[in-house]
């Protein structure tokens, strides 16, 4: 069984002039979490968007279950990859259920409308996220944390096996950040592959995830955190001193800044 997602020598530049990143290769297996780390503006979101085929890479290829994604129809890609954007900008006040049911789109013909079984699937996705009580609420009037859960629920209704998330914790308070990380961990335990971008290296440790790092010199590092996360790399990448310490009492490593 090959990898769910295989990235080969990927490179990207805007208008062919400024190279954003290059020579990026890694794999994502089922049930794996990969965190994309890197300083601001280095191209984390651009890389994520290349994986979602929202942008076309200049060099290299992305294989989905062994098939080149560039050759697959959009519908096929959407049946495997779900995308959770950093923020949803609601325009009309659809109910949460009406929103989540659109996850069925890649499984329906252009002129088809969702039937009872599709609403059922959407309700199950809400249940998995523990937000069934929100089903009939307009999605314009729920909290940012709830909106993030709704967005993930749609990816589940989509029956995606790989979920891409652009800074899933960006606009959340500390409690909600941890709750969303918990959800991500649960999803990976259920066999979903997950790629997310983050600004917080400690999340890699919290999630016990693999790290994909584009460092300050645009050099790509990939591997389990134990293998590639070092104080030197983190400090150089973010341009501030950072420590990696084993903390007694919580039995895990943390990435933390010394006193300022």
């Amino acid at each position: 069984m090959g990898a769910l997602l295989q990235v080969k020598d990927l490179g990207f530049s805007y208008n062919g002039s400024r190279q954003i990143f290059k020579d990026i290769s890694f794999e994502v297996q089922q049930g794996e979490i990969v965190c994309l780390l890197g300083p601001n503006g280095i191209g984390k979101t651009t890389l994520l968007n290349c994986l979602a085929r929202l942008r076309e890479p200049l060099q290299g290829s992305v294989l989905l279950n062994g098939e080149d994604m560039a050759d697959l129809p959009a519908r096929e890609v959407a049946r495997i990859i779900g995308y959770v954007p950093q923020t949803l900008i609601p325009s009309f006040d659809y109910t949460v259920l009406e929103y989540v049911v659109t996850g069925n789109a890649p499984w329906l013909g252009t002129f088809e409308k969702p039937g009872p079984e599709h609403y059922q699937r959407a309700e199950e996705a809400l249940q998995q996220m523990g937000i069934s009580h929100l089903a009939q609420k307009p999605y314009t009037r729920i909290s940012t944390g709830e909106l993030q859960q709704v967005s993930i629920a749609r990816a589940i209704a989509q029956k995606a096996r790989l979920i891409l998330m652009d800074e899933p914790t960006a606009h959340l308070d500390y409690g909600n950040q941890l709750k969303v990380l918990r959800l991500i961990k649960d999803l990976s335990a259920k066999g979903y592959g997950i790629v997310l971008t983050t600004h917080n290296p400690d999340q890699v440790l919290l999630l016990d995830a693999k790290a994909a790092i584009i460092d300050h010199q645009s050099i790509f590092h990939f591997g389990s955190w134990q293998d590639i996360l070092t104080e030197e790399l983190l400090s150089a990448m973010y341009g501030v001193p950072l420590r990696l310490i084993e903390v007694e009492g919580i039995d895990r490593m943390v990435s933390i800044a010394p006193s300022l």
């Binding site: 129809p73 959009a74 049946r79 995308y83 954007p85 325009s91 659109t102 996850g103 789109a105």
Partner: protein
């Protein structure tokens, strides 16, 4: 049901006679029943009132449906169907026909062609600039609309004041006074085909309203669906405007009202929009021909009714707007 009652009531109202019993008898006799009929009434009902009633129903449905679609596709509840220049194009077309001294039929064809041409030019600009975002299309619509309103101004400036200028102004206010049966048959196919397509695509239109990024990650063939939807909505508006002249407010207000009644999900609100639009326009046109001895242009009435209605809707939704 409400629509049928409305149609009947509207058929009963008019300058010749306001007796619903007579009208009912005329309709029943047409269905093969043996009832006493007023022969003059038969002519009035079938040749004068019925085409007009049907036209108002169809035009109301067309304008409000395309308004609903435009609002969803452009993710903006303040958008009306003339966003991409349909109405200004049609106005220029109709005015050109008036200046050339052409008859009614030519005027309608010119108006239709003008409306469609304007939308084509609007959709060409983003293509030339190689930026196919929605925002570029909206800006392009503003450019084309602005240019066309200047063209229209020149036409008005050179028009002969007493006759041509008056015709242009009157056309821009909208009226169904001179409607004939065969015009209905000309726009009926457009109405049937485009409305059916749009209603079939109503769920996809929900997805379009999430924005390009989300639609693409859901595997929707964005360019294809958006093109079909915009073409259908523009055809609807252009056909409606070509026989009635420009009519304001309907395409803006009715979709709002429908969303308030049926919710935002287009699979439910679009059919409701179609019906309410039809009933609304029927009421307006009936008012237009009965309220005084001279015909009142439609845009005057839609403005007087539509603007306060819009204010009322905003009042109801005020907590949702931030």
């Amino acid at each position: 049901m409400l629509l049928l009652i409305g149609v009947f009531l509207s058929l009963s109202l008019g300058r010749y006679s306001n007796d619903p019993i007579k009208v009912l008898n005329v309709l029943l006799s047409k269905l093969g029943m043996n009832v006493p009929v007023d022969p003059a009434m038969v002519g009035i009902v079938f040749n004068v009132r019925l085409p007009r009633v049907l036209a108002s129903v169809m035009i109301g449905a067309m304008l409000s449906l395309s308004g609903a679609v435009y609002q969803s596709v452009f993710r903006n509840p303040l958008v009306s169907p003339d966003l991409l220049g349909v109405s200004s194009g049609a106005a220029v077309g109709a005015s050109a026909a008036i200046l050339l001294g052409a008859g009614l039929a030519t005027r309608q064809i010119f108006a239709f062609a003008g409306g469609i041409l304007a939308v084509l030019v609007t959709s060409l600009v983003p293509r030339l600039l190689r930026n196919r975002s929605n925002m570029m299309l909206v800006l392009s619509g503003i450019i084309v609309g602005g240019f066309l309103s200047s063209v229209l101004a020149i036409m008005k400036f050179v028009a002969e004041e007493q006759t041509q200028l008056a015709s242009i102004v009157y056309w821009q206010l909208g009226s169904l006074a001179s409607i004939l049966g065969n015009e209905l048959f000309a726009i009926l196919p457009v109405f049937l085909v485009c409305s059916t397509l749009l209603l079939l695509l109503s769920w996809r239109i929900n997805i379009l309203s999430f924005g390009d990024l989300e639609a693409r990650t859901l595997g929707v063939n964005l360019r294809q669906v958006r093109t079909i939807v915009i073409i259908c909505a523009s055809l609807l508006t252009a056909s409606a405007v070509s026989i009635s002249g420009t009519i304001g407010w309907v395409g803006l207000v009715i979709p709002h009202l429908s969303r308030l009644i049926a919710g935002s999900d287009n699979t439910r609100s679009m059919p409701v929009t179609l019906l309410i639009g039809a009933i609304f326009m029927l009421m307006i046109d009936t008012l237009a021909r009965t309220v005084s001895t001279v015909e009142v242009p439609l845009s005057i009435l839609t403005g007087f009714v539509g603007a306060p209605l819009y204010a009322l809707l905003l009042y109801k939704q005020r907590t949702r707007l931030e």
